[in-house]
């Protein structure tokens, strides 16, 4: 099984630009070198990472291993960890924040080896209604004030007297989501959110809410913004050096938007990966292809060294 997996890996490395044709050709080559794998890979977790993971899963199943069934759910980062950190849990847990100490402790308690695989970079994007023509640019500090309970801002005019004297309606994903926790921990530094913030389980609901609320402002992953540029506009955030529009370039490593950029991960149950060849194979596939796919679904790629580091680790498991 090890041999099969390793030869497969080489193919994948060659197959950098994932074009339909290229992969088709590769597939034929694979047929000769690797046996078909079978089994299922179970992924749950972040809704932010879901588009990326589902894309990868689909490509894997159509182009690489038809016999392997990769199923992707998206209960949210925290909910996902709860299903990951149990006996015979999920194989991967997507996360839009880093694993927490108590979650690590839980893994240790179970004697479970967990590997963090950084897969992409996501810019936390603040979106407003299309008709909002005043708040297109804001400083990071102003954004914080809008969302903080004691930020002193409830109306647009509290920020800028020229802006409408209307109440700001704040929205965001609920606590099931890593996005919320990233926002709460890293941006608000664990200070309380405004009392009436409207937290939702579904991103689609948030998109719709901002689309229809002139005074609404919401935060979520960049991916949910780029797919809805016709309905929403993103706030250009001024981190001190002038307003920066979130984009694949700016949210990249060391980009101008980096302050609001966060890495997103998938966590691998290493024990299961050792046990099941196809899980490891899929993990390798993810790392080998993630940077290609990331852009399509609104993520910035991570540096090649980091990818290589993960790949080396995974290779070591064989």
């Amino acid at each position: 099984a090890c041999q099969e997996a390793s030869s497969e890996k080489e193919d994948e490395k060659e197959e950098t630009n994932t074009e339909e044709n290229a992969s088709d050709n590769n597939e034929e080559e694979n047929k000769e070198e690797t046996a078909d794998l079978e089994g299922s890979v179970v992924i749950d977790g972040s809704g932010t990472v879901f588009p990326l993971m589902s894309k990868l899963a689909e490509n894997y199943m159509t182009n690489e291993q038809e016999g392997v069934s990769v199923e992707v759910s998206r209960a949210g980062t925290s909910a996902g960890f709860k299903k990951f950190l149990v006996e015979d849990g999920t194989d991967f847990n997507d996360a839009s924040r880093q694993i927490k100490d108590e979650e690590k402790a839980k893994a240790e308690e179970l004697g479970m080896e967990v590997k963090e695989l950084k897969v992409a970079l996501d810019g936390l994007t603040f979106v407003i209604n299309k008709e909002n023509d005043w708040a297109k640019e804001m400083t990071d500090e102003e954004l914080r004030k809008i969302f903080l309970a004691d930020g002193g801002v409830t109306k647009w005019s509290d920020i800028n007297p020229d802006w409408p004297d209307e109440k700001i309606n704040t929205y965001g994903p609920n606590e099931n989501h890593g996005t919320y926790e990233f926002f709460y921990e890293n941006i608000l530094e664990e200070k309380d959110l405004v009392e009436d913030v409207n937290l939702q389980q579904e991103y689609s609901t948030l998109v719709k809410m901002i689309e229809e609320d002139k005074n609404g402002i919401a935060f979520f992953g960049f991916g949910y913004y780029v797919n809805n540029t016709d309905k929403l506009q993103a706030i250009h955030v001024d981190f001190g050096d002038g307003p920066v529009e979130p984009s694949l370039d700016t949210i990249a490593e060391d980009g101008d938007y980096a302050d609001f950029t966060r890495p997103v991960f998938t966590y691998l149950n290493v024990d299961l990966a050792k046990e099941k060849t196809h899980v490891l194979d899929y993990a390798l596939y993810v790392m080998n292809n993630v940077n290609e796919v990331a852009g399509e679904v609104g993520f910035a790629p991570i540096p090649d060294e980091e990818v290589q580091e993960s790949i080396d680790f995974l290779e070591g498991l064989k």
Partner: protein, 314 residues
């Protein structure tokens, strides 16, 4: 005398010969009531199963959260760092959506029933009833989709302050979904009022409306009330419409233009595709489900009680 020149068949002798195998069969026959009884007990097992699962985890939950806090708390923040488990926001959400649904379904359903049983010609009735049944047969997910993508935007034109997710729109759509239920059950109750009673009133010079409102409805009253109670129970338990169209905000409010969460929607949200076992949130699921179950059970028993107790004696 038979055309065939074989010995005539002697059936009773043949039967006697087969007796042996018949005896075996009769033994099997004896066990049939027992087998069927076991099969029938599945329905009781189901009830026991529901009550047992809900109850045992609910008890677990109440060891972590006080029962008083649960039933009187107005703050529901199951996921936050220091979670709060007040069920009142969910109860108000559920009751509000049910109330809205009933405000739509009860009058329209009743008027439909009256029209079909008292005014409509046989032909119209024959056309309308199956069409209404289609309405009842549409999956709730479709209604959810409809509420979210059609009714809410439509209502926004009328009520500008309406939020994108609100309890009003799913409430209305739920009501529409329930119309056929009230209409058909009430119509059954009304048509079972004997015609002699209608004739008695008509012969006094009553109009059809007067016959309907003063004779038929009072006579069919228990059936009508039972249909409404059953519809309430249905509305309380309805899940997908509210899940899709009312969002998941858990504020304790009575503003129907805002998003409210119902008990059912809470269950969907918390399971979020697959509930993580063992946590307080997980147990809260059962506590909420238990509350929901008790609510609907009471409604069902109440409906049965009404239709039995006040069975019309004409």
């Amino acid at each position: 005398m038979m055309q065939t020149n074989r010995e005539p068949v002697h059936v009773q002798e043949l039967i006697a010969k087969k007796k042996q195998s018949k005896n075996l069969f009769l033994k099997f026959e004896k066990s049939i009531p027992v087998i069927l009884f076991l099969i029938a007990s599945i329905s009781i097992l189901t009830t026991i199963g529901i009550i047992y699962t809900l109850l045992s985890e609910t008890i677990e939950f109440f060891q972590e959260v006080s029962i008083v806090e649960f039933f009187t708390g107005t703050v529901l923040k199951p996921l936050s760092q220091n979670p709060k488990f007040g069920v009142l926001p969910l109860i108000t959400g559920t009751l509000t959506s049910t109330l809205i649904a009933m405000l739509v379904a009860a009058p329209i359903g009743l008027m439909t029933a009256i029209y079909l049983s008292e005014f409509a010609s046989e032909r119209i009735r024959k056309i309308c009833k199956p069409l209404l049944e289609i309405l009842a047969g549409i999956p709730t997910i479709v209604y959810g989709f409809f509420a979210f993508t059609f009714v809410t935007p439509l209502l926004k034109h009328i009520i500008p302050g309406l939020e994108t997710t609100n309890i009003l729109s799913p409430g209305i759509v739920m009501g529409i979904m329930i119309i056929p239920m009230i209409a058909s059950l009430s119509e059954d109750a009304m048509t079972s009022v004997p015609n002699a009673m209608r004739e008695g009133a008509l012969a006094l010079g009553a109009t059809k409306l007067e016959v309907a409102t003063r004779v038929v409805i009072p006579a069919a009253f228990s059936g009508i009330v039972a249909s409404i109670v059953l519809a309430i129970s249905r509305a309380i338990g309805e899940t997908m419409i509210v899940t899709i169209a009312s969002g998941s905000s858990k504020s304790f409010t009575f503003d129907i233009t805002e998003s409210m969460q119902t008990m059912t929607a809470y269950i969907v949200e918390v399971t979020g595709g697959d509930a993580p076992a063992g946590s307080t949130i997980y147990y809260s699921l059962y506590a909420v489900a238990m509350t929901l179950f008790v609510f609907t059970l009471l409604m069902n028993l109440f409906a049965r009680y009404i239709s039995k107790k006040f069975k019309e004696d004409y």
